[in-house]
């Protein structure tokens, strides 16, 4: 009986071991041969580094610091004082000599001055006489001239009067002409020509939307060349203002009017896109 028991334990143990071994082998086999997953590769990228800087000039270099050497300076100072005393004595001697020379020079100058004064007085008298003679001659010439001038003025006044009359006549004719031109539609035609010219020249920025209304004062000279552009009231942004100012310059030279009398130096252009 005991033999059977121990046998049984042994066989059970062996059975368990064999099963464990088989299971272990299966697991090991599965572990080894499962399909590997392809891992995606991940890469990082460099940062971009750009910064904006002010265009400022570099600061000037600082001055070098002074050298502290106290003792040496004291000794130097003493030697300097001695030297100064000797120099002072020397200078005094030189000073006395100099003063003597100055005195002699002053006396000499005085004599020269006196002689010069006499000569000057003589010259002045001669000059005065000359001036007097000139003045007399001048007065005579003046009188002659005045007489001539009066004559010329009279003549001129007559001419001017005649000219004014002619101008006025001409002006009245021009006014009539202009009125006729305006009412005949030539003015409208001229406006349309300028409008077309400027519209072709206006490169509209995206912000020039319907609702924008801006005025530009344009000055032109005969021939159509634009000489001055001034943006007036405008409810658009800077890009709009710039674009209409550019348009005015780009449209130069403006077309000539069908009737020359219609030419106007000053234009007021209103930009008001309607789409």
């Amino acid at each position: 009986m005991s033999e059977r028991l121990s046998d049984r334990w042994l066989s059970m143990l062996l059975s368990v071991l064999i099963h464990a071994a088989i299971v272990g082998a299966v697991i090991w086999g599965w572990w080894q041969y499962r399909t590997p997953q392809p891992q995606p590769q991940v890469l990082a990228i460099e940062a971009t580094v750009v910064r904006e800087a002010p265009a400022s000039p570099p600061a000037p270099p600082a001055p070098p610091p002074p050298d502290p050497q106290a003792e040496q300076r004291a000794a130097e100072q003493k030697a300097q004082e001695q030297k100064a005393q000797e120099q002072k004595a020397q200078e005094q001697k030189v000073e006395e000599q100099r003063q003597q020379a100055v005195k002699e020079a002053a006396e000499k100058a005085e004599a020269e001055r006196k002689a010069k004064a006499e000569a000057d007085a003589k010259a002045q008298a001669e000059a005065e006489a000359k001036v007097k003679a000139e003045a007399e001659a001048k007065a005579k010439a003046e009188a002659d001239r005045k007489a001539q001038q009066q004559l010329a003025q009279q003549k001129k006044a007559e001419q001017e009067r005649a000219q004014r009359e002619a101008d006025l006549r001409q002006q009245m004719q021009a006014e009539e002409h202009l009125d006729a031109a305006r009412s005949s539609g030539a003015l409208a035609q001229y406006q349309a020509m300028i409008k077309a010219r400027i519209e072709r020249a206006w490169i509209r920025p995206p912000s020039a939307r319907s609702g924008i209304s801006c005025q530009v004062n344009i000055t032109q000279i005969p021939g159509g060349t634009v000489t001055a552009v001034q943006v007036g009231r405008c409810n658009g942004d800077e890009a709009v203002r710039q674009s209409i100012s550019d348009a005015a310059y780009r449209a130069s030279p403006l077309p000539a009017p069908p009737d020359p009398a219609l030419f106007d130096r000053d234009l007021v252009v209103t930009f008001a896109p309607n789409d």
Binding site: P38, V49, V50, A272
Partner: protein, 423 residues
């Protein structure tokens, strides 16, 4: 003799009313900058500026061979000469080495019509960022003349695909707005889709199939740090950051398989359902005020653009009515328009709809144009088109005037996303 006194009538100024203009490109001369060789690495800054300004469609640049002089300072510019040559503006500049590692770029802008210097800028850049400084010069000129902020110094993200199925290789790429300086930030043998920028330009959200199923990740662009955001059962797709960057709208199908728009709070991970319709509801796009979401739905039979109110998601309005197929909406940065793909005849093209008036204009002319994305200044739209059998990226100005193609040697290009201005 009495003279008739006739005072002439005071001459009034001539009045003219201008009611329209033109959108011709503005003629500008960008004079080659004074160089700092070899510190500037051979970069032709004026060339980059010229390419930027011309590609916007708003400027026409003078040819270098026609330039009789090449000034580098405002004081040396004879405005009348440049005006006579047909230029309204002149840009001049100079590049100098500021120190061992930095480069100084200075520029001046002159209006030849008035002869005045409009302004200038000075930038200091590291050698590697010199191209960026050139784009900042372009932005300065663009804004000074047009009054609109330039978007040249911003980046785009897109997906590049090489090879043929089933052995395709996918790359997620970040490049400058002109397509130059492409940098691969993710590579995979499984599809990458729907890249989209966070409002602070730091993160990209995208869909990746790297685990054999769709999942939404966000990745910090500068460092490569990644976070798994949604890998729920079914479809995880079309992520879109809210304008404040705290939430993500996305498309989920769950186990049921019906695509709907959901809202995920990135901080709390709370998930809110936004659409609950048996139709396909997908491709969410936020309004600029963050209060509404535009999306594509085929609840009316075919794909159309709808808008839901976040305060009351059951309030859904249909927005597009023009054709039988309108999908994949994107909202302009100022919130005034949306761009989407519309079917015109048998072709799929990019359309822009003004939200106030409802007016729609079709901007592109291809057969299979898709994935529109607005530039952050709202002036241009980038999209994916086809050039024969090859997918390319193209840009069109919002008034439909000009189209540019971004060239690349990286294979098929898809799904571009333009980063927003940092606030």
């Amino acid at each position: 003799m009495l003279l008739a006194l006739c005072a002439p009538a005071a001459r009034a100024e001539l009045q003219v009313n201008v009611t329209q203009g033109v959108t011709d490109p503005i003629p500008i001369a960008i004079v080659p900058f004074a160089r700092a060789v070899p510190a500037d690495g051979g970069l032709d800054i004026a060339g980059v500026v010229q390419h930027d300004l011309e590609s916007s469609g708003r400027f026409r640049a003078m040819q270098r061979r026609d330039m009789l002089s090449t000034p580098t300072r405002a004081a040396d510019v004879q405005a009348a000469d440049w005006k006579a040559a047909g230029n309204d503006y002149v840009v001049v500049g100079r590049v100098t080495a500021a120190n061992a590692s930095e480069i100084d770029v200075e520029c001046d802008l002159i209006n030849t019509l008035t002869g005045q210097r409009l302004g200038g800028k000075r930038f200091v850049a590291s050698g590697a960022s010199l191209r960026n400084a050139a784009h900042m010069v372009s932005d300065f000129v663009y804004e000074s003349v047009l009054g609109v902020r330039g978007a040249f110094a911003t980046r785009i993200a897109y997906v590049a695909v090489q090879g043929q199925a089933p052995n395709q290789h996918f790359q997620l790429i970040v490049a400058d707005s002109d397509g130059e300086m492409p940098r691969v930030i993710l590579e995979s043998n499984q599809p990458i889709m729907s890249p989209t920028w966070s409002p602070d330009d730091q993160w990209l959200a995208y869909v990746s199939f790297e685990n054999r199923l769709s999942a939404v990740y966000i990745q910090r662009v500068r460092t490569g740090e990644r976070r798994l955001v949604s890998q729920r059962l079914g479809v995880n797709g079309a992520p879109a950051f809210s304008p404040d960057g705290t939430r993500l709208a996305l498309t989920l199908s769950g186990s049921g398989g019906n695509l709907d728009v959901w809202l995920l709070d990135l901080g709390t991970q709370a998930l809110t359902r936004l659409t609950d319709d048996p139709a396909v509801d997908t491709e969410p796009a936020w309004s600029s005020d963050g209060k509404s979401i535009y999306f594509t739905s085929d609840r009316a039979g075919g794909p159309q653009i709808y808008k839901l109110d976040l305060a009351n998601p059951k309030r859904v309005q249909r927005v597009s009515f023009g054709s039988g197929y309108d999908a994949r909406p994107r909202v302009a940065p100022d919130g005034s328009k949306i761009a989407y793909v519309t079917r015109e005849g048998g072709n799929y093209r990019i359309a822009v709809q003004d939200l106030a008036s409802g007016n729609v204009s079709v901007l592109s002319h291809g057969a299979l144009d898709e994935s529109p994305s607005f530039a952050p200044n709202g002036a241009t739209i980038i999209f994916a088109g086809r050039d024969g059998a090859v997918g390319t990226l193209q840009t069109v100005s919002v008034d439909g005037q000009v189209t540019q193609r971004l060239t690349s040697s990286q294979g098929e290009l898809r799904e571009p996303a333009w980063e927003p201005f940092q606030h």
